[in-house]
């Protein structure tokens, strides 16, 4: 039973990353109509940011949690202003191709300087150790990742669904021209939205640095799984992406326990099943 609970926890952690990443993808897709293929690369940049902050500047994990998303977010906003905004009005597929190119560049540069092996990043002192719950041993850092991601996800949901800013955002998703006529600076909002989505990816990167090590290709395979998560959940609903992300993480964790051979394919198999039964995805509208 110990092993089962441990795998469930690993599943929840992977689920947090899926949720944070697919949430960012959904927010970006809503505003920019672009599937951000560079999301995995930016997640990796978040982790590397934390690594640099610790080893070059001497700022610890808690600072990294704050600064890395801001830095990567700014990098994302520069990308949006210099490249992505020129794609408005073109076929969606060009956005996919452009961001795929950006991902190749970013990953290639990091691979050149850091190879393919992982760099260690220590768990912060305050989160070391674990609690014995009786039925299992709970490492504090892992519990922290799950709870913190959940809080961030719910906060993002609240920001978009319940605040005035979120209302503007949703309105601009529906009809940008009309919202612009009301005096809202839509292009700036688009840039900030991309920054927000990218910042969420970077945050996931910082959270994963102590667990998964810091590697140039850490986001490359992850983003494909997240795409499958997005296909399953659909990008129409923020809460939908969060729940699908966590649920699929848990299912993957369970698979690791009951049938480990299928653990890295289970999300794709589920995607196939969902497509066969309900082609529009679980929460999605027709694309």
């Amino acid at each position: 039973m110990q092993a089962l609970y441990a795998q469930l926890l690993v599943g929840l952690i992977n689920g947090s990353f899926y949720a944070l990443l697919s949430l960012g993808l959904a927010v970006i897709f809503g505003m920019l109509n672009i599937i951000n293929f560079a999301h995995g690369a930016l997640y990796m940049m978040g982790a590397f940011c934390a690594y640099f902050l610790l080893n070059l500047v001497g700022l610890n994990y808690w600072w990294a949690l704050l600064i890395a998303p801001i830095l990567v977010g700014i990098f994302g906003m520069i990308l949006e202003r210099t490249m992505l905004q020129w794609l408005t009005g073109l076929d969606h597929l060009y956005g996919l191709l452009l961001t795929f190119g950006i991902a190749l560049i970013v990953q290639g540069v990091f691979q050149n300087y850091f190879g393919s092996s992982g760099l260690p990043y220590a768990i912060p002192d305050q989160l070391k150790g674990g609690i014995n719950l009786g039925f299992m041993f709970l490492p504090i850092y892992r519990a922290w990742v799950v709870i913190f991601s959940l809080v961030i996800c719910v906060a993002t949901w609240f920001l978009i669904e319940k605040t005035r800013l979120g209302a503007y955002l949703r309105a601009a998703t529906e009809n940008p021209t009309l919202v612009r006529a009301f005096g809202v600076n839509v292009p700036r909002m688009i840039t900030l939205t991309y920054g927000l989505g990218v910042g969420l990816a970077a945050l996931a990167g910082v959270l994963s640095a102590p667990i998964n090590q810091v590697r140039p290709l850490m986001g490359a395979d992850l983003i494909i799984v997240v795409f499958a998560v997005v296909v399953i959940g659909g990008m129409g609903s923020i809460m939908g992406s969060i729940i699908t992300g966590f649920a699929l993480g848990v299912i993957e964790g369970l698979t690791k326990y009951f049938y480990p051979e299928a653990s890295n394919t289970v999300v794709f198999v589920l995607m196939v099943l969902v497509l066969l039964v309900k082609p529009t995805g679980l929460t999605g509208r027709a694309a």
């Binding site: 190119g101 540069v109 050149n112």
Partner: protein
């Protein structure tokens, strides 16, 4: 709806004549390669990728469907052919047939699944399916995991042509490529191809005219996947191995890049793009990961400034269809 290929000229007798002239010139140039002193292995490799890119282009350029998993057909056909040649010891012609059949079956299955969603979702689904296959091939014993299937015998095609001789192999690959190319050209200019273009331009209107667009897209997917499989089978004879790199997502990305550089929706673009990218990889092989960076930069530059691709720009300049 903004189509990927913005200026499609009507098919006129003049356009057909232009295309046939370019085709004959291309065929003659390629046929003269063994006499020119160019390393034939490089050209053979480029021909396989050119066929793959042409098959991919059939789907994106004429059906408007961006598949981000076309490497799965290349790799699957490669594994099937390699297994047939090495383990079953079949002659080359049957080995190719087994590979193409493998890709055909795979394209039916994956097409049935992925055709259910359009646009961006279609790309994500094909990518996820190819990743699923990658993990399957990593684990199943017949692919030999990380090692791949190596030392594949080349044998005698129809019992006559000795494929271990580079020149003979070159012409066999060339014939395979030209046959595939002509088949794609025929498909594009058939009534089926015209309906496909109509669906790309405006699917709701095509539906309102009574076309079952899903069936057309499915058939285009199967044709594209099967022809990509032919490229994979031919590549087995050239490389004499079948490995996981052929199924990896980065390979799918390269195919997209080749077609984008040459020109989406142009007839000769994928061939030009494939030769350009393979040549670039050859010359920059010593630069390690910078090749990835350069490929990424080409993607960015193409999308931002050069969306018609090399052949597309030339055709646009001369107002011809190429």
């Amino acid at each position: 709806m903004t189509a990927l290929t913005d200026d499609t000229l009507p098919v006129t007798p003049r356009a057909m004549r232009d295309e046939m002239i370019v085709f004959v010139v291309m065929a003659l140039l390629l046929a003269s390669v063994p006499f020119s002193g160019i390393y034939p292995f490089f050209v053979m490799q480029a021909l396989c990728f050119a066929l793959l890119a042409c098959a991919f282009n059939l789907l994106i350029g004429y059906g408007g469907l961006l598949s981000f998993g076309h490497a799965m057909f290349l790799g699957t056909a490669g594994y099937c052919s390699a297994h047939a040649l090495k383990v079953w010891a079949l002659p080359p012609e049957l080995g190719i047939l087994v590979g193409v059949a493998g890709a055909f079956v795979l394209s039916i299955v994956t097409g049935y699944i992925s055709i259910r969603r359009q646009g961006i979702y279609f790309s994500m689904i094909t990518l996820a399916l190819s990743q699923l296959l990658y993990f399957l091939y990593l684990q199943t014993p017949f692919t030999h995991g990380e090692d791949g299937i190596q030392g594949i015998p080349q044998g005698h095609l129809f019992g006559v042509f000795d494929l271990s001789k580079p020149t003979v192999l070159y012409y066999v690959v060339l014939v395979g490529f030209l046959a595939g190319f002509l088949l794609i050209y025929r498909i594009i200019n058939s009534p089926f191809g015209e309906v496909l273009k109509a669906i790309r331009e405006n699917e709701p209107r095509a539906i309102s005219l009574g076309y079952r667009t899903d069936q057309y897209k499915f058939l285009a997917f199967v044709l594209s996947g099967t022809l990509a499989g032919l490229a994979g089978s031919l590549k087995v004879f050239v490389a004499q191995n079948a490995s996981l790199t052929d199924v990896h997502w980065s390979m799918s990305g390269e195919v997209v890049l080749m077609t984008l550089v040459g020109g989406l929706g142009t007839i000769f673009g994928p061939v030009v793009g494939a030769f350009a990218i393979i040549a670039m990889q050859q010359y920059l092989a010593g630069f390690g990961q910078w090749v990835t960076v350069i490929q990424g930069s080409i993607f960015v530059i193409c999308v931002l400034t050069f969306r018609r691709g090399v052949v597309g720009e030339i055709a646009h300049y001369f107002r011809r269809s190429l």
